[in-house]
Point group: D2
Chain length 299, copies 4
C-alpha cells in the first residue's frame, strides 16, 4: 500500500455505537426552522459536528441547511420517519439524509484524455474522495490498462456517429445495473441527450475546460488562444440538457501569457481541470453541494 | 458626492420598527447550544439573516457561533438580560451583542505611508467599511491634508526616540477621550508596549507587510528580495505584546519574479497590504472575527 | 506631500548626460534581427537595461522586441533616423522609439463610479504610473471635486440620448486640443463610435467589469450572479469598434460564493477592476504592450 | 498508451537536419554581450526560437541570458569550441550548452508520501517533463509497485538511525552509476549531508511543504495550523548544505480556513506540493533556471 497523507478523524461514536449522518434541507425561508431542526437533533441525542446554512434572500427566499452529526445506532432506525413527521412536513422541507460511512458509488465516463480520471482514481485510493469508483465506461479503448490496474471494471462502449441512441441505450443498461449514486464525465467528449439524463436518474457532473460561460462548447483552448485571454480556467458543473449550462459547482483559473500556444494552454489547463473536477466530485460525495435554480450552494 | 457601487439591502424591519443585531457566542462545545440559542431567538420573534458556527474539535473543544438577525424594537430592551439568564449562564457562554446600525468607532495610527490609510478612508466614505473613522494620529505630520479633507481630525503625536512613554501617554489620552471600539495600525512604524495595549482596552489590528510568520520584524521586502521568494504577501492580525505574533485575521499574496527589485516589491506589495488591511478591518467591524487562542475564526 | 513607497532608481546617465529610451520593434520573423539591433545599439554606445522578445511562431511568424537602454544625449539627435536607415528598412520593421523621461499624457473618461479613476490619480501622484493625467471628462458632474483637488481639469460633457454625435464632437474637440498620448475609460458607461475612435488617433484602454469574453456587454455582475459563477473578474483591453472585443491587456479574478449578492459582487469586483485597470494603463505607459492581431504581447 | 493532451511542436529542422540547442550565459554585465552572442549565432546559421535576458543591476551587476535556437547538424561539431573562443572568453562568461533533444536523466529520492513522485512519473509519461526518470530510491519499500509498473528501477536503501553515512554511501554508489543530470527529492524525509551533496556533483531539487522561509524544518502543517495562517504553501528549491535555505525555484499557495485541521492542511497542501515540485523539475529540465547567489533567475 502507498502511504497516505491524511489520517481518519476519530469521531465520537467511532467505537461502533454511533453513525455519522448528514442532513440536507431546502425549503422556503421562514422563522423557526433552525430551532425546530436543532431541537429535533438534540432530542434524538445527536451531536452536531458541523452546521451550515444559507438564506438566499432575508426577506423571504429559499433556505438551505446542512448538518453533519453523530447518532447512536439505536436512534437511527426510525430517525428519518420521525424527522419527516416532526419537522419536514411542518416547514415544507425537501430533505435528504445520508450515512457518511456509506461512500457514493460513482461511474466515470471518459474518452481519451486521462488526467481527470487518473486524479480521481488516485484520490479514491488515498481515501480522500468520499466515494468509490464502481466502473469506468469509455467510447475508446485507450484507458483500459490504468483503470483495470486500479481494480475497476472498464467498459468500452463505442459511439457510432450515426447511431448515438444505441450507445446511450448500452450505457443506460450498464449504469442502470450498477446501483450508482452519481455519474461523472472526466472529459467525456460526447453530448448526452435529455432522455438519457432523465432515465439515468442520478446527478451527473461534468468538467469543462474553460472558465464558463466563456468558451462554452468545442475547442475552448484554441478559442482562448485566439481571443488572447490572460487567464484560462476550468469549470465543474451539473449536467443538464443544455450543453455547458448546468449549475456550476467549482471553477478555477491559471495565469497564461502570449508565449503559451494552444497546445501549452491545453497542458497547463489540465492541471486546473483535474483539481477542479476532483474537488467538485468530492464535495458532491460529501453532500456539500445543493442545487438552487441554475446555481449551487456549496457548504 | 461620489457614486457608490453598492446599494443598501432593504431588510425586514427597515421601516424603523426593527433593528439588525449580531450575537457572538463562544463556549465549551456540548450538545444543545444551537437548539437553545435558536429557540430563544425564535421566541423573541427574531428573524435570522445569517448564522455560522464552528466546533474546534468534535470530541469536545471550543464552540463558536455568530448569528445575525432582525429584532423588533420593543423586544430589544431586555433582550440581552434575558439571553444572559435563559441561555448564556446555562452553557457557560462568553457572548457579545452588537447593534448592526451602530458603526464601530475607529482610530487610525499611521506613520508616513499613506496607502492603507487612504484605502480605509475611501471604503468608509463609500459606506462599505461598517465603521467610522473617528480620528487619525501619527508620529509624522505628512498625512494631515488628505485626512482633514475627509473631515477627520488629525493629531500629530511625535515619538521622541528617548521618550516613547511620553508619546504613548499622549496617545492614550487622545484615544481614551474618543469613545473608540477599535484602533488600527495603518503602517504605524512604532512598537506599542504591553502596558499601552492593556490600558487601551480595545482590539488593535495591524497590517504587516509580509506573509507571516515569514519576515516578521523590520525590512520584510528587502529580506524577501534577498531570500528570492516567488510570492510576497501581507498579513492583518490583532496586536499582542509580542511583535507580529498576534492572531492572524487575513493574508494574501502576489506573484513576483527575479526582475522585481526591493523597491518594486514595496510598490507591488502596497496593493496587497491595503486590500488585506481593509478586509480585516471591515470583517472586524462586521463582528465576523472571533479570537481562538493564538488564531482566529473568521465567519 | 505624502510619503511614497518607491525610490527612483539611479541609472547610468542620471547625471543628465544620458536619456533612457525604449525601442519597440515588430516585424516578420527572420534570422539576424537581434544581431542587427543589438549591434546598432552597441555602436551607438547604448547600455541595454532590459530586453524582451517574442516570436509568435518559430517557423516564421511575427517577431516582437522591446529594448530599454540609456543613450548619451549627443547620440540622440539622429538616432532614430540612423536606426531607420541601418536596421528598420532592412528587416521591414515597424518600430517606435520613446524617451522614458517623457510621461504619456492621458485623458480619463469616466461616468459615476469613482474607484478606477481615484486609483489612477493615486498612482500618478505616487509617481508609479509612468504617465500624467492631463484631463478628466465625464458625462456626469459627480466627480468634479476629487479631480480638481488633484489639480486636474474636469470637463462635464453630457451625452443626450438622442444626440450622441454632438457629445462625441465636443469630446473630440477637447481631447484633440490636449496633445494626448492615450485615452482611458475608467468605467465610462458610453459606447464610442468607430468614427470617434478613428478621429481620436491615440490608443484607448477600457476596463470591463467581467472576465471577458464572459459577460460582455451590460450588467455583468447581475449576469454573473444569475449564472452562479464561483469567480468574478475584470478585463482591461484596447478599445476597438466592436464592443468588448478589443485586444486584452490584463485580467484578474476574485473568488466569490453563493452568499454574495449582485451588490456584493459589484463591491468585491471594484477591487479587481481598479488594480487590473491601473496595471494595464501603467504597462501601456511603460511601452510594455504590443498589439498582435486581436491579442497583445505584454513584456 | 494513454492519450496525451499536448502535440509536439514541429520546429524548423525537425526533418533531422537540425538540432534544437539551449545556451545559458552568466557573466558580469557590460555593453556588447547580446550583440556578440547574437552575431555569433547568426553567423553560425542558428535560428533563435526564444531569448530571455536579465541584468541584476543596470549599473553593473550580473548578466544572465538564455537562448534557444535551432542549428544545422553540420554546424554543431565545433560550435561549443568556437563559442568559447569567439565570445565566452572575451566577456568572462560562464556558460552551458544543452541539446534539447537529450532529456535530463533524473533520480528520484522518496520516502512514503507518493503524490509528488506519482505526478512526476505521470508528466514524464505524457512527455511533458523534459527529462526521464532513470531510477527511484527510497528509505522505505512502500512505493515499489507503482514505480516498477512505470518501468523504473526501485531501490530500497534503508537509513539506519545510527548509521546514516552507510546509507549515503550506498546512495552515492547507486546514483553515481546512473549517469544522472539531476536528483530530485519528492518528499524524501532525510537530511542529506554536505559531503553527500558535494560528491553527488549534480543539482538537487527538493520540495518543502511550506511557503519558505515560513515553517522551515519539521512539521510545517502542524505549525501552520497552530499559527492560524490563512494560506498554506509549498516551495521547490535547490538543496544546499543548510536545511531549507537553498535558492527558491517556485512557490505557490492555497487558501485555508479555521475549519481545516492539520490533517486537512496536509491533504490540501499535497495538491500544491505536487504542482510546484513538477513545475520546478520541468523548468530545470528545460534549462530555464539559473542560480544567482542565494536566489534564482527563472526564464
Amino acid at each position: 500500500m502507498t502511504a497516505t497523507a491524511a489520517q481518519p478523524l476519530v469521531l465520537p461514536g467511532d467505537d461502533g455505537t454511533h453513525a455519522t449522518m448528514r442532513l440536507l434541507v431546502a425549503c422556503p425561508d421562514k422563522p423557526g426552522i433552525v430551532a425546530a431542526v436543532s431541537r429535533f437533533l438534540f432530542d434524538a441525542g445527536a451531536n452536531i459536528l458541523r452546521s451550515d446554512q444559507y438564506s438566499s434572500d432575508p426577506t423571504g427566499g429559499a433556505f438551505f441547511l446542512r448538518m453533519e452529526f453523530t447518532l447512536r445506532h439505536d436512534q437511527r432506525a426510525d430517525f428519518a420517519e420521525r424527522f419527516g413527521h416532526a419537522v419536514a412536513e411542518r416547514f415544507d422541507i425537501a430533505w435528504r439524509l445520508w450515512d457518511a460511512d456509506r461512500p457514493k458509488r460513482i461511474a466515470v465516463l471518459v474518452s481519451r484524455y486521462d488526467h481527470c480520471l487518473l486524479d480521481l482514481l488516485y484520490r479514491w485510493k488515498r481515501g480522500d474522495l468520499g466515494g468509490e469508483i464502481a466502473l469506468v465506461a469509455s467510447n475508446h479503448a485507450d484507458l483500459r490498462t490504468p483503470v483495470e490496474a486500479a481494480g475497476v471494471p472498464y467498459h468500452h462502449v463505442p459511439v457510432a456517429r450515426d447511431d448515438k441512441p444505441a450507445a446511450e441505450a448500452r450505457l443506460l443498461e450498464l449504469l442502470g445495473a450498477a446501483d450508482l449514486d452519481m455519474v461523472v464525465l472526466a472529459r467525456y467528449m460526447q453530448i448526452l441527450s435529455g432522455t438519457f439524463l432523465e432515465r439515468l436518474g442520478v446527478p451527473v457532473i461534468n468538467i469543462h475546460h474553460s472558465f464558463l460561460p466563456a468558451f462554452a462548447g468545442a475547442g475552448p483552448y484554441e478559442r482562448a488562444k485566439a481571443r488572447g485571454v490572460k487567464l484560462i480556467g476550468a469549470t465543474a458543473h451539473y449536467v443538464t440538457e443544455e450543453l455547458d449550462e448546468g449549475p456550476i459547482i467549482e471553477q478555477d483559473v491559471i495565469r497564461v501569457t502570449h508565449r503559451d500556444s494552444a497546445a501549452e494552454l491545453t497542458r497547463l489547463g489540465a492541471d486546473i481541470e483535474r483539481v477542479v473536477f476532483s474537488r467538485a466530485v468530492q464535495w458532491h460525495c460529501e453532500d456539500r453541494v445543493l442545487v438552487h435554480g441554475s446555481t449551487t450552494v456549496v457548504f
